[in-house]
Assembly symmetry: C2
Homo-oligomer: 235 residues x 2
DNA sequence: GGTATATTTTGAACATGTTCAAAATATAGA
DNA sequence: TCTATATTTTGAACATGTTCAAAATATACC
């Protein structure tokens, strides 16, 4: 069931992807119409919809693709560095650079964050796979790094970092400063902050804070992890 | 220039607002069409658009209205309580209850948070007035409370609390648990966390963290405060 | 009241995401 | 090669947010 012959459908799919990428990059997500995409791909509107059920799905495709590239890059980074702060910074910077050309339309993903019902939300159930993949990547990064953190927090670090990283992306998307210098500064400053805070998590008087933090993370997670399991009247 | 005679326009506006509220409540924001609103208000589609330039603007109206109610409620709370934790909790709970009937469609406001260009975003320039109003309310709450926090943090507490509160609302919007018990738990837990953390901000070894935090807040603010002043190539 | 101007209302038209039944084409089995 | 089935393509149609020129109505001034 792997790739045998280049099926016609694959070729058409490619055509649509190529056309949409170009248009999205130039005109952004909203301004690009499905009709324009279909036209540029030399096919009818209906054909485009045969391959991608919604306009959203096109963007989701790039998201998935970039996730794979990040995974690859992560391996490279970890081969050279073990200081987790440096690693995380390199990772964020790579995402930053790699996503630069698609920034104009990639934003829709993040922008829809607040609506868990929207399939485009990074918290929605349709993006769960991608989310878990990203969190797994961070987990891997942490495992292979020198991050020292209280054992109560440890199992939730990857999720926390993922949330943090989503915040950075959100900022980046809306950052209109020249070459996004502000985002870079934010990365530096916030990593500094987190680094310092985490290094304190082993102090005795932090016990309460650590526990509260874990509970909050779990509560947040419980809303995203299984959003489609219908109304869990929990206790 | 105050209310003289009930202008025809005011009556029509009221009719639209009433119709839209009912429809939004029953069917939510997306499912409610402008045509349905116009029909329910006994007027043509174009007339509805004469009073509200976009569908969004209708929701924005309720946002503004509820903000006034919150302000009123805040006065009541502060008259009885001075413990800032209790105050904040009461305030959050009031917002929670008061917004309950509009929860189904009020979410669009928060959901668009990620797109600062979207007028519906609570970070956008079109909602700046409302935002400042809300922050002012929190400022007032803090001033009249017993909150003790490091002087470096003090000037930014209201903004921080506002951000925090937006997070809570975001959670609340998407909380499908029975009677939103999860949101209530989140409020308890996170307030506990913040309370503990803030009470530590005066400790000597927190100096670095405090400073970093302030810088991060300022950086975040710089992206929201003047989003329409065109490309500030800052240093 | 009559006329000029401002306000309000209308309905048609447009753009765009999406659906769908039917047509065209490809594929497999005889 | 011929036929049956599966895949792909098409274009028309629909829903809905939005715009707009023209018509209807109200208001103000004589």
């Amino acid at each position: 069931m792997t790739t045998n012959k280049p099926k016609k459908s694959d070729i058409s799919k490619e055509k649509i992807l190529k056309a949409s990428l170009e248009l999205f990059q130039v005109h952004g997500y909203e301004q690009t119409t499905m009709r324009a995409i279909a036209e540029k791909a030399n096919m009818s509107l209906g054909a485009a919809y045969y391959y991608f059920k919604t306009k959203d799905e096109l963007v989701l495709h790039y998201y998935a693709e970039s996730s794979k590239e990040v995974e690859h890059r992560l391996g490279e980074i970890l081969a050279k560095e073990s200081d987790y702060k440096t690693c995380f910074k390199l990772l964020l910077q790579f995402k930053h650079e790699q996503l630069l050309p698609v920034r104009s339309f990639f934003g829709v993903l993040v922008q829809q964050a607040g609506n868990l019902q929207n399939p485009l939300s990074p918290f929605s159930s349709s993006t769960k796979e991608l989310r878990d993949e990203a969190i797994g990547q961070i987990e891997y990064l942490i495992e292979n790094s020198n991050l020292k953190v209280h054992k109560v927090l440890r199992p939730h670090m990857a999720k926390l970092f993922w949330l943090y990283q989503m915040g950075i992306v959100l900022y980046w998307i809306n950052d209109t400063s020249h070459e996004q210098v502000r985002t870079n500064r934010l990365i530096d400053l916030s990593l500094e902050l987190i680094l310092t805070a985490l290094s304190m998590s082993n102090l005795p008087l932090m016990g309460q804070i650590n526990k509260s933090l874990v509970k909050v993370v779990q509560l947040v997670e419980s809303c995203t992890a299984t959003p489609n399991l219908e109304e869990q009247h929990d206790a």
